[in-house]
Structure formats: structure tokens, C-alpha cells
């Protein structure tokens, strides 16, 4: 009967041996290649630091101007533009300017990185069912695995700092853009593709002249979601050494500072809303031709 009462697990010894073996192998790998990896990511680190410094060094009125201009270009809506500028003013008044700039820097760089990697992967996926069958489960894992779990190998490999933080954010935030690029391209009307073929379009011309432009609204929805997910990683990223709005939130948790936590949390929300509205209205304008507008 004993057999049924407790699951017949492997002995403690075997198990700890196995775990140790994995850990040792990984540590060995990280000792051997850690430096190369760091060198590999060095340009990224420099770019991130440069961008962060740029944002911090730029006088605040100019940043406000740029925020307003970007919001206007993206949304063409006075409401959204005014709301965005106002949100930044409030953030500045409540003394969260610097942290907000740091967060903006990492979110922007993470989003750019996700776009640069995610769109090509999405395109690759849309071109073969086999690729799709391989990549989809990987994306599923990336989205469902608790972020703390993949923080461990990232930190083991690269230590604590901006780059591991950036990578953690990207791992979490990249799936939507890959998925929606793939979906968008697959949803392009077969009749339109056939017409393109009939005029002797080459695969390359078809991809960039027909498929990607027609998938753009979906790709944009993906970028929008990627930004949202990157923002939601701000607090976790700050646990491994990323500056920004996440740091005060962490401090607030450990010291039970309610007001501090709320303020910084709301600043993150404000950023999220601004990014969301601007990129969504921009995405909508991209498909104006669908509604018959100009």
C-alpha cells in the first residue's frame, strides 16, 4: 500500500546529483563564454547608456516638446497630445522625472530590439508551416514561464545590470510582435497575392510590396502589445539592476511606503496609456484605406 500513498519519486540523492550536474554545466558554460557574451552585448549596452544619458541630459522643456510632437505625429489628436504632455508635467512636478527618463530609455530600446528581431522571425514563421510549428510552442513557453525563472540563467550568464534587464524584458515582450507579424502576413487576401503573382512579382517584391504593407495594421497591434508588456516588466527588471520607475516601487514594497509605490506605479500606468493611445491611433490611421478614407 505504501506504494500508492506517496509518489514513487527518485531518491533525494539522485535528484540533487542531477540538479547539480545541470547547474555545474551551466556555470561552466557561463565561465567559459560569459565574457564573450558580454562583449557581444556591449554595443547594445553602449547604445542604451547613450540613450539614457541623452534623455536625462536634455532640458525638460525640450523633452515635453518632443513628447507632444511625437504624440501629435502618431495620433493627430489634440486630446491625446495634450493628455500626454500633461501627464509628463505631473510626473515632473511629483519629482519622478529622472526615473521616468530611465524607464523611457529602456522601454524604447527594448521595443526597438523586439521589432528588429521579432518582425524578421514573424516573417520567417509566415513563410513556412514548419517554422510556425517550431516557433509557436517556444513563444508559448516564453509567455507563460514565470519571469523569475528565466531571470536565473540570464543573471548567471551576464550578472546584474542593464543588459540582463533588457534581455529579460525582451524575452517577455517579444512574443506578441512575432505572433502578429506572422498572423498579419498569413491573413493577407489570397486574391491579392494571386494578382501580384500574375504580374510576375518576385518573392522579395511580394513580401515588401504587398504582404508586409497589408499586414501593417496587425504588426502595429503587435508593437503596441510589445510596448505594454515591456512596461509591465519594469518592476521585475529593476530587481536585476535596471534603473527607472521600478526601483522606487521595489523600495516601497520592502518598506511599506504606500504613497511612493502608488505614485511610481501610476507613472508607469500613465506611460502605458500614452504609448497605447498613440500607437493605436497611428495603427488605425495606417488602415485608413480600408474605411475608404484618404
Amino acid at each position: 500500500m505504501e506504494f500508492f500513498e506517496e509518489f514513487p519519486s527518485l531518491g533525494r540523492k539522485t535528484l540533487s546529483g542531477m540538479k547539480q550536474a545541470v547547474d555545474e554545466t551551466f556555470k561552466g558554460f557561463s565561465r567559459a563564454y560569459g565574457e564573450q557574451l558580454e562583449n557581444f552585448f556591449d554595443p547594445l549596452l553602449r547604445f542604451l547608456i547613450w540613450f539614457e544619458r541623452l534623455l536625462e541630459a536634455t532640458p525638460w522643456p525640450i523633452i515635453l516638446l518632443v513628447v507632444g510632437a511625437l504624440a501629435w505625429i502618431g495620433s493627430r489628436s489634440w486630446k491625446i497630445t495634450a493628455g500626454s504632455v500633461l501627464a509628463f508635467v505631473v510626473i515632473g512636478v511629483l519629482d519622478m522625472w529622472e526615473d521616468t527618463m530611465a524607464t523611457l530609455a529602456i522601454i524604447s530600446v527594448a521595443t526597438l530590439l523586439c521589432i528588429a528581431i521579432g518582425i524578421p522571425i514573424g516573417i520567417l514563421m509566415s513563410r513556412s508551416d514548419r517554422m510556425q510549428a517550431i516557433i509557436t510552442p517556444i513563444l508559448d513557453v516564453m509567455q507563460t514561464i514565470p519571469s523569475f525563472v528565466y531571470l536565473i540563467p540570464v543573471v548567471m550568464l551576464l550578472g546584474i545590470g542593464k543588459v540582463p534587464g533588457l534581455i529579460a524584458v525582451c524575452i517577455y515582450a517579444i512574443p506578441p510582435i512575432v505572433r502578429l507579424t506572422n498572423l498579419g502576413i498569413r491573413l493577407v487576401d489570397k486574391d491579392v497575392l494571386e494578382a501580384a503573382d500574375a504580374f510576375g512579382t518576385s518573392p522579395w517584391q511580394k513580401l515588401w510590396g504587398v504582404q508586409v504593407p497589408l499586414a501593417l495594421p496587425n504588426i502595429f497591434a503587435g508593437i503596441n502589445q510589445t510596448i505594454m508588456m515591456a512596461l509591465s516588466m519594469v518592476v521585475i527588471a529593476s530587481m536585476i539592476g535596471v534603473k527607472g520607475l521600478g526601483v522606487p516601487v521595489l523600495r516601497a514594497i520592502s518598506n511599506q511606503y504606500l504613497a511612493l509605490g502608488l505614485m511610481n506605479g501610476l507613472a508607469i500606468v500613465a506611460l502605458a496609456i500614452i504609448f497605447d493611445r498613440v500607437s493605436q491611433t497611428y495603427g488605425k490611421r495606417l488602415q485608413a484605406y480600408r474605411q475608404g478614407g484618404k
Binding site: F199, G200, Y289
Partner: protein, 337 residues
């Protein structure tokens, strides 16, 4: 008739998992329903051979599902055949590399689609210039030639509209202009006017005929509408269940339908407006009375015939050469079928 521009030889297309394996059965005479039942394969085209004359309009007609779209897509190889040969200007399309095939699609053939197939994210002018853009023509040249064809199909002023802002008839004019802009000699039109309402459709047919008078393209025109076929077609081919069951000029189809299926098709047609006197003129006894042009349709010939002294007229061809005589009785018999 003039020489063949496109030749289709013993073409077979079977849709399904292992078309090559069931090909032998089809060649042995298995029909479409049995093939579907016994092997799960759909017979798209069976043993079609067709010579398409240069600079004429070849109509392919048949009911829905008879394989018209499948057939026309073989000509520019949007569909790979299971067996058979396609020649354009004597060149085997099926042995071409991807690159050669693209060249044919760019320069030799162009296509107009039932559902238009316009690029929704491009303006009218950009759609019309699409084929040229694909070929790498300079943008000045594209703009110039696109404008020319936009004007020709009567869309002047709509250059900067998106297809979604146009009516169906206008969209298909864009489709037609796009196809003409590449100056390809062969125009493939798959039910190009079927989605349009009757008046617009008649208009588009008129535009096509008018352009054809001047451009002399080799046109393969798919339709399921007999009136359209008779109006446009220099030659008509009729498909059923993927097989070619009759081929000929309009009067040949109407006067001597190959079987009940075609007779059924043609029974409601106004024969008086389709059949021309030259189809009836029996060579033989010379006639020394009044003459009438052989291209006169029956409906217009009845009055002159009844007024002729012995209700008989001599028929001449376009050059005035004597073809034979026709009597009123003959004409009336032909009218009744």
C-alpha cells in the same frame, strides 16, 4: 483563322493528395463523380486541348465548377498541371525556370480577375502602374503610362483614390487598365465582368471591344454567360466537368450544339442576333439576283429576303465574293433551331 498564340495540349489537372497516381484511372476514362467517390480526388481539367488564335478573343464558357478558372490559370502557370503541355508562342511554359516564368508573366501575359485583385493599400495610379513597377520601369515612365491607361478606361480624376473608395465597375476598370499597362500581348480575363450588374457589364464589354479593335490582343475570356460569350467571342470553347465538349464560332455553337448540355445553354438565346447569313449560305447553284453581305444577322436579313423576287438572295463575303444563296425558308428554319 490566324496562327496559334497559345496552345494547350492534352491538359489534365487533378486536385488531391496523389494526383499522379490517379491520373492513369482518369486517362482510362473515369469521370469526375466516380473519381471523387473512389479516390477523394477532384477532377479539375481532363484532356483539354485548345489552340488559341492570335489577336482574337477566345471565350471559354461553362457552368460553375466546370474548370474555367483552373484552365485559365494554367496558361500563366498560377496552377501546375498534373499532365499535359502549355505553349505560348511555341515556348513550353511548364519547362521554364521561376525566373523565365516571371519574365513571361511580366511581359507576355497579364490578367484581370473576377474579384478584381487590386492592391487595397495603393492608389488607383499605383495599382495601374503595378506591373510596370514590378518590371523595374522608371517612375516617370510609370506615371506617364499609368495616366494614359487611366484616361483610356475613363477614370481620369480618380488617380489618387484608393480602390476601396470606388464602385465595383470602376474597380474593374482599374483592373483592366492595370492589365493593359504592361503592353502584354495576351490578356487573361477570368469572369472579369461577372461581379458587375448588367448595365455596367454591358459598358465594360463595349470598352473591351473598343480597345480590342485598336489593340488586337490575344484575349482569353472566361464567362458563364452565353450572351457575353456570343457578344465577345471570336471563338468559343465550352467546358463541362473539366472536359472540352465543343469549340467553334458563335453560330457553330448555336446552330450545331454538340450535345444536350450545350443545346440547353443556347436554347434561350436570340438566334436572330447571333447567326449570320454566311453560316447558311450553301455553295452550289450560282445566283444572279440581288446580293447581301454575309455578316448580316438573320434578324436583319428577313425583310430583304421576303422582299426579294423569289425570296432568295445571294450571299457575299466581306470582299464581295459570292458564297452561295439563302432562301427565306432556310432563314426561318435556322431561327427556330
Amino acid at each position: 483563322m490566324s496562327q496559334s498564340k497559345v496552345q494547350i495540349k492534352n491538359l489534365y489537372k487533378i486536385f488531391g493528395k496523389t494526383p499522379k497516381k490517379v491520373l492513369a484511372q482518369v486517362k482510362a476514362g473515369m469521370g469526375k463523380p466516380e473519381l471523387l467517390e473512389q479516390t477523394g480526388h477532384v477532377l479539375g481539367i481532363q484532356n483539354v486541348s485548345l489552340d488559341i488564335p492570335e489577336k482574337r478573343i477566345q471565350v471559354v464558357m461553362g457552368l460553375s465548377g466546370s474548370g474555367k478558372s483552373t484552365l485559365i490559370r494554367h496558361i500563366n502557370r498560377l496552377i501546375e498541371p498534373t499532365d499535359g503541355q502549355i505553349l505560348i508562342d511555341g515556348e513550353d511554359v511548364l519547362s521554364m525556370s521561376d525566373k523565365q516564368l516571371r519574365e513571361v508573366r511580366r511581359k507576355k501575359t497579364s490578367m484581370v480577375f473576377q474579384k478584381f485583385g487590386l492592391l487595397p493599400h495603393r492608389k488607383v495610379a499605383e495599382n495601374v502602374g503595378y506591373g510596370l513597377e514590378v518590371q523595374g520601369v522608371s517612375s516617370d515612365e510609370i506615371a506617364k503610362r499609368a495616366q494614359h491607361w487611366i484616361d483610356r478606361v475613363g477614370l481620369t480624376g480618380y488617380e489618387n483614390h484608393y480602390p476601396g473608395q470606388l464602385s465595383g465597375g470602376m474597380q474593374q476598370r482599374v483592373g483592366l487598365a492595370r492589365a493593359l499597362a504592361t503592353d502584354a500581348e495576351i490578356l487573361l480575363m477570368d469572369e472579369a465582368f461577372s461581379a458587375l450588374d448588367p448595365l455596367i457589364r454591358y459598358d465594360m464589354q463595349s470598352i473591351l471591344l473598343e480597345l480590342q479593335d485598336e489593340l488586337h490582343k490575344t484575349i482569353i475570356f472566361i464567362t458563364h454567360d452565353l450572351d457575353e460569350a456570343l457578344r465577345l467571342g471570336d471563338k468559343i470553347a465550352i467546358l463541362r466537368d473539366g472536359a472540352l465538349i465543343q469549340e467553334g464560332t458563335a453560330p457553330q455553337i448555336v446552330l450545331t450544339p454538340a450535345d444536350d448540355y450545350i443545346a440547353d445553354f443556347t436554347k434561350d438565346i436570340n438566334r436572330g442576333k447571333v447567326i449570320r447569313l454566311k453560316a447558311l449560305a450553301a455553295a452550289g447553284s450560282p445566283y444572279d439576283g440581288a446580293m447581301i453581305d454575309g455578316s448580316t444577322v438573320l434578324a436583319d436579313a428577313l425583310l430583304p429576303l421576303s422582299q426579294a423576287p423569289d425570296q432568295r438572295l445571294g450571299v457575299t463575303d466581306a470582299n464581295g465574293a459570292y458564297l452561295g444563296a439563302v432562301t427565306l425558308t432556310q432563314a426561318i428554319a435556322a431561327l427556330q433551331g
